[in-house]
Symmetry: C2
């Protein structure tokens, strides 16, 4: 059905990592969860849309059991809403919920900044430098999609360096929730340039081992991302 190119593979592997279903689940469950989850993030599946489990089962020529399991996973990550005996739906984000997520995310990213400054080795710094440099190129070329996933990957790497698995898990979960929003907000004029400038400044602070500054910049960058999301249409449309 869909052409299998390089980019989708990158997206998929990143998504699978975020959902932490790499090791644990059966292939069929992973397949369904990835298709539905990426569909939601990329807007192919609209918020509030029904997710008919028999239809999904048919699409992946499996039974409803693994489909159900996949939907439950996505529900835990806040991408799907399931109520007993009712049809599962793609989650709707209220403006209030979005505010909440960014608020918590900002504070936790600050924490990550401090931890990264404490724990990063020289090799870690070199890798981060390389990644930021790549993102600069992507931003200059206006490759929104590639930049988006590079950004996701960068934050994953930073949480790794921070060395707190629990913290990483929470941020991954919040990241999934915000992805649907970030994806569109990055497309705003000037947003890409502003984002990459933030990333460069954050990296510099980390490089100079200035934990307070890194924390501050990360919090500010989160605020900026939040503002961009609020400006985008998506937040308004679903505010109900």
């Amino acid at each position: 059905m869909e052409p299998v190119t390089e980019a989708p593979l990158r997206r998929e592997s990143e998504f699978v990592r975020l959902l932490k279903l790499s090791e644990r689940r059966e292939p069929s469950v992973v397949q369904v969860a990835t298709w539905v989850g990426l569909g939601i993030i990329e807007g192919r599946l609209a918020p509030g849309e029904d997710l008919n489990s028999v239809e999904l089962a048919h699409r992946f020529s499996s039974s409803r059991t693994p489909v159900r399991e996949a939907l439950m996973l996505l529900e835990q990550e806040g991408l799907v809403e399931m109520r007993a005996r009712r049809r599962p739906r793609v989650a709707m984000f209220t403006a209030r919920r979005i505010d909440e997520i960014y608020f918590v995310r900002g504070h936790l990213l600050s924490l990550v900044g401090r931890l990264v400054v404490q724990h990063a080795t020289e090799d870690d710094l070199a890798e981060l430098r390389k990644r930021v440099a790549e993102m600069v190129v992507l931003a200059k070329n206006g490759e929104v999609d590639a930049y988006f996933w590079a950004h996701v990957s960068l934050q994953e790497r930073m949480t790794d360096i921070a060395g707190n698995e629990t913290l990483k898990g929470i941020l991954d979960s919040l990241a999934l929730r915000t992805m649907i929003l970030r994806h569109t907000s990055l497309a705003q004029p000037g947003r890409l340039a502003a984002s990459v400038a933030d990333q460069e400044r954050i990296f510099e602070a980390i490089e100079q081992r200035d934990g307070d500054l890194a924390a501050l910049l990360l919090a500010r960058a989160t605020v900026a991302a939040h503002a961009a999301v609020e400006r985008s249409d998506l937040a308004r449309d679903q505010d109900s």
Copy 2:
């Protein structure tokens, strides 16, 4: 089988709230998840113990489907470990993981403290005062179990007042992970008195609308709880 008294009902309803399965799930799933989850928290089910799904299904005279679903819910909360094609087990907590959880929890509780100071109405304060007073009595009488659940309930109420559903969800999840530890650490001599003293001081700070102090005290109380856990046997036993 088990005598249905007042106390178990309190525990169960609190646990159901924390797992957020009140509205969403079928009764059978809720029943299994509650029994297994509380079993883990109370130590009836030991860490590392196998959770045979057919046996559980038989025990609740249901099929394996709802049991599986319940176990998946508990897995998401970190109480159960499931690996593909392997038997589900009661989760094992490493010392490192415990450190991580308390680290994040401390920071987020600080955040809650600040938010509570900002948002609490006079009625909210009155209710908190009442709850703390009740906890003082329970602590004096050495009723560890009742105190424990009152504490859980108090923090639930505070996160409600803080008014950030996302933050509350994260803290609930962390609370579930730490419950198995807190439950035993509270039984240490002097720990109950220390804990209730912390709660009183925290409430006073909130009452005086001193957000910084409330945040500081909450962070400190978390550190104290963490230290108590480290002193308890459980943390050592599972350090592998």
